[in-house]
């Protein structure tokens, strides 16, 4: 019975119900089946919520970044990325992941699917393939490039964000462990996260290099044929 809260979380999230409401309902139900009365539950919830304000500390950094965006933060980044347009698709995507990791590791969200992948990264990667191998590139390979473009954003975003000590995930780790009686300094968390960011980048670069190689062996001959026909 104690597990009803977890069941509510799983079902609620899986059914895409309102996240905030699901979490609060799960908490209250867990308290009820554990024979806490409603006043105790609300007090525990309120106490925990105030004690965990620290997980929201990242909000203090957001207005500054908003102000920098107004003064061209994203546009300048786009200008820098566009200079790299002569690279192969795989190298370009690894480069994007590197930029994504470096920036998110410093607490700046410079990326995202609607903002960067759709308008910039994916067209550039597709362009790199078409520029290299001509129009004969099959549609399923273009699809693959698109998928890799989206993945480049996710990999960079997920595995480097904990390097920034004010990241919501870092603060969640710290406050969860503190709630269990283990004091944590967020700086220690971000140090542990560092190797993860590097390993993720290396693995993703390998996967991108293999993609380049596959495209090379599949289309390089085609290109020779194309030239031979001319």
């Amino acid at each position: 019975m104690e597990l009803i809260g977890i069941l509510i979380i799983i079902i609620g999230f899986a059914m895409k119900l309102d996240t905030i409401a699901v979490v609060v309902v799960a908490g209250i139900s867990t308290g009820l089946v554990a024979n806490m009365n409603i006043a105790e539950i609300l007090t525990t919830l309120g106490e925990a919520f105030v004690a965990n304000r620290v997980t929201c500390l990242f909000l203090i950094t957001i207005p500054v970044i908003g102000l920098c965006e107004r003064y061209g933060l994203k546009e300048k980044a786009v200008m820098l990325i566009k200079k790299a347009s002569k690279l192969s698709a795989g190298k370009l995507l690894s480069g994007y992941t590197l930029i994504r990791e470096t920036t998110i590791g410093m607490g700046v969200t410079l990326g995202g699917h609607p903002q960067f992948v759709r308008p910039l990264v994916s067209p550039m990667a597709e362009g790199a393939i078409v520029a290299k191998y001509g129009d004969k590139v099959e549609e399923k390979d273009i699809e693959k490039i698109k998928a890799y473009s989206a993945a480049s954003d996710n990999v960079g975003n997920f595995f480097a964000q904990n390097v920034f000590i004010a990241n919501a995930g870092v603060l969640l780790i710290a406050s969860t462990l503190e709630g269990m009686g283990m004091p944590v300094d967020t700086l220690q968390v971000s140090k542990v996260a560092f190797p993860v960011a590097i390993i993720a980048f290396i693995l993703w670069t390998i996967q991108n290099t293999l993609l380049d190689k596959r495209m090379q062996s599949k289309y390089a001959d085609n290109r020779k044929n194309a030239r031979g026909e001319q």
């Binding site: 996240t19 609300l42 997980t55 102000l67 061209g72 700046v108 998928a147 904990n162 710290a174």
Partner: protein, 309 residues
């Protein structure tokens, strides 16, 4: 005043600042006549502003009630983004060309100052974040020569775009506290211990990492999985047999992210781009991510076992 008292005082000041930012967002929402759920959204930001500014002075039960009100507002779809004044692209491009690389300095200084303060002063990482944010704010004003009014608008714009997600980590951490006081962790631990032997570090590590990935895949959210799995598996099967909580806990969260790469439940990351990029195979992104996700999960297990013990 010793360093702990000073740290707590500074943190309270930072919370008051965040509360003020939330208050600004509330005011903008109230003034937004076209907002369809104006009152509900303003109430959401207003309640949060009060909890952040005066959390320590309000009886905990009242805060609990306020959290329930937020949940009701969220469930009834009252918290929405209003009409935001979008950035003027000609202006941002002009400024990007004029300011050049200097525009990166404020964001870089948040990261660097926070790191330096945490490393070289007795202050903790959390206090360092607040100090660096305030420094970065001053630097940003010097570099951009922005008007204070612009900061207010940008605060409103950024806070509204984050919306109710802002409090999700805080709420999940609170859920973890409720779970612990209701004995949920012990229950999961006793169920798992029927299946796997306790006291074996390697089995504990594998269960913790794979459990995080699987729970994240089911729920589509690693934060929620973290609160549950760390209490239920991390503490009894990894920390209890000598695993370092910080190393193992930190690795566990990113082990969960390996699960995020593999699940259609994480729609924002895996399904939305497939749609945005007009891909035929809606699971194409997940397929591209499968090799790295599995390899990274294995890497997490190795790291946690050899580094965490």
């Amino acid at each position: 005043m010793d360093i702990t008292q000073l740290s707590n005082l500074l943190l309270e000041i930072f919370y008051i600042m965040i509360g003020l930012f939330m208050g600004i967002t509330m005011v903008f929402t109230l003034k937004d006549k076209q907002h369809k759920t104006r009152i509900g959204t303003a109430l959401f930001w207003g309640i949060l502003a009060v909890i952040f500014m005066a959390g320590n002075y309000i009886p905990s039960m009242i805060v609990g009630v306020l959290v329930v009100i937020i949940a009701i507002l969220s469930a009834t779809k009252q918290i929405n983004i209003g009409t935001l004044k979008q950035l003027d692209e000609t202006f941002t491009t002009l400024k990007a060309e004029k300011l050049g690389l200097k525009i990166f300095i404020p964001s870089l200084s948040i990261a660097i100052i926070a790191m330096l303060v945490a490393q070289f002063t007795p202050f903790s990482g959390t206090v360092a974040i607040g100090i660096s944010a305030i420094c970065a704010l001053i630097i940003a004003f010097v570099i951009t020569k922005a008007k204070p009014k612009e900061l207010l608008e940008d605060t409103n714009r950024t806070y509204q775009s984050i919306g109710s997600f802002a409090i999700l980590p805080q709420l999940l951490a609170s859920l973890g506290v409720l779970f612990t006081s209701a004995g949920v962790g012990d229950k999961i631990a006793s169920i798992i211990s029927n299946v796997i032997p306790s006291g074996n570090a390697l089995i504990g590590v594998i269960t913790y990492c794979v459990g995080m990935a699987l729970f994240t895949m089911i729920m589509g959210n690693a934060f929620a999985a973290f609160a549950v799995i760390t209490v239920g598996i991390g503490a009894p099967f990894v920390f209890a047999v000598g695993g370092d909580p910080i190393i193992c806990g930190t690795l566990a969260l990113t082990a969960g992210y390996c699960g995020t790469l593999l699940t259609p439940m994480a729609a924002n990351f895996n399904m939305l781009p497939a749609a945005l990029l007009e891909m035929k195979d809606k699971n194409g992104v997940i397929k591209a991510q499968a090799p790295i996700a599995l390899l990274l999960l294995a890497a997490h297990i190795v790291l946690m076992y050899f580094w965490g013990f």
